[in-house]
Amino acid sequence: MIKVVFPGGELSELAQRFRMASVESFAFAMARPVRIGKGWRLLVVSIHVPSPEDYEERTIFNVRPTAAFRLRVEKRARQDGMVLVYIHSHPMQAGIPAFSPTDDATEAALAPYARTRLGEGPHVSLLIGAQGVTARVMADAAPVAVFEVGRRVLSYIPGALFVVGEEHDRQIRAFGEAGQRAIAALTIAIVGLGGTGSVIAQMLAHMGVRKFVLIDPKRLTKTNLSRVAGTRPDDVGRAKVEVAQRMIKSIAPDAEVTICEGDVLEASVGAMVLGVDFVFCCTDSHGSRSFLNQLAYQYYIPVIDMGVVINVENDRITHFGGRVQMLAPGLGCLVCRDGILSPDEVRWDLSNAEARAADPYFNTRVQVEQPAVMSLNSAVAAQAGTMFLAAVAGIPGEARSQLLRGMQGDLRRLDDSPRRGCVNCSKNGYFGQGDNYNLPKRMS
């Protein structure tokens, strides 16, 4: 599958602008191509809209930019190793727009030219209609999915007309059939299938998610039974991902569940996340969270990160609560606010055996099992699930960073704006860099 991904709200803004015009409009999106398995992820890094004088023809039936405008953008794309998305509009066409015979003829002539001039990368044609968006490889029937990943996650996935069943009637009454289909069309990774991850898996299966990738290196211990959803006493010793897979299949027998009993910091395991559409970060490892925090911006893959804390001193709880934060282009990351990720824990988690052996502090630190309670894990997971629905299914929730304070019994919305020039999520950092940089990984 080829996926074109626009960061923030760039596609919505362009579509709104095109839909206000009574005639067809044109733009180029320049995208960094990333090979993922047999598919591509095309990360849009800039949009180029012609000025009125850059149009050679612009009517209700046709649009053509000038050769000078086209050549200028195509030259830059070639120099920068980018692919181009040729975008135009049919502003009057309702529903899912369809390419016209004129489009077919234009692309048939343009496709060989684009391949010769720009290279063999998948150059894409994207059509914006009055409500919807559709895309295809230039002069080719190969399907192309289009995503916008930011505060909201919009998806236009070819063939994604999932049957909406009666079992989801009550939630469709809340956010509509389109929202239900959007949920069902996404492939979702859950990293960490412990206290929060298992509850997320259960919740998503009930809500209608049908494609899962589950990642966790650990096996179930007896102490997990009190808080890992879907477990039975005889599961002790089984892989957590297997237990979660069984639970999901018991709720949704038609769900596709891929499991990996491994650590996301291992290169081969981390690579699995590149193929998904949304990630829930349910691990308490700072290294794993740092990995996903980078991935969200480097590859425009939205992540919801969550954490739970119960602090006990002298046998008394001093505070308890949790936090939930969505990580996506246009939103702040875990590094924008100081104190969320521990710089020492990240280093330790990413260190290989040789570096750990040489570090006297690593060798003397004591790993203490933290207190954990299922009700609190579930409260935090519930906020994460609702944030997911707000981002994907269109329920009108704006919070993308929240703090649950258990002692006070309140839930606060936090500032979710990005820090200017952030080393992780800004254009000075990993924003849209794709394969230009490695994701952090731990060598064995």
Binding site: G287, S290, N293, Q294, V335, C336, D338, G339, L341, S342, P343, D344, V346, R347, L350, S351, N352, E354, A355, A357, A358, D359, P360, Y361, R419, G421, C422, V423, N424, N428, G429, Y430, Q433, N436, Y437, N438, P440, K441, R442, M443
Partner: protein, 129 residues
Amino acid sequence: MGSPTLDAHFKRLKVRYPDTVLTPLPSGAALITLPNRPLPGGWAPTLATLHFIAPVGYSVAAPDSFWLAPNVTVNGAVPTNSSASQTIPETKISAHFFSWHLEAARWLANEHDLLTFVSVCLKRLENRR
């Protein structure tokens, strides 16, 4: 293929210390080397090469500890919290290891850089014990 932050911070470090060298390590970490740094009075020898590691995940992951080469003494004794002739991980360099750490949570990924950590190392050497 390092990181945009490491690239930018290393450029900044080169402006202040032009002979600085960055050596990529197999793990993805980087060895930072500042040759022939003059040591404060009381240290012997008077010049030493400073090494430290920008870890995988830098600058979200903080640097920690450093090495001097060759082995050093201060006021004729082995410095505290140090050990001579240690091999720097992922290299064949033998150097004098200084177990020297930032206080917990003092490193701020968006504010500190390699220059910050060099100044932390040099501060340690001002302490003549």
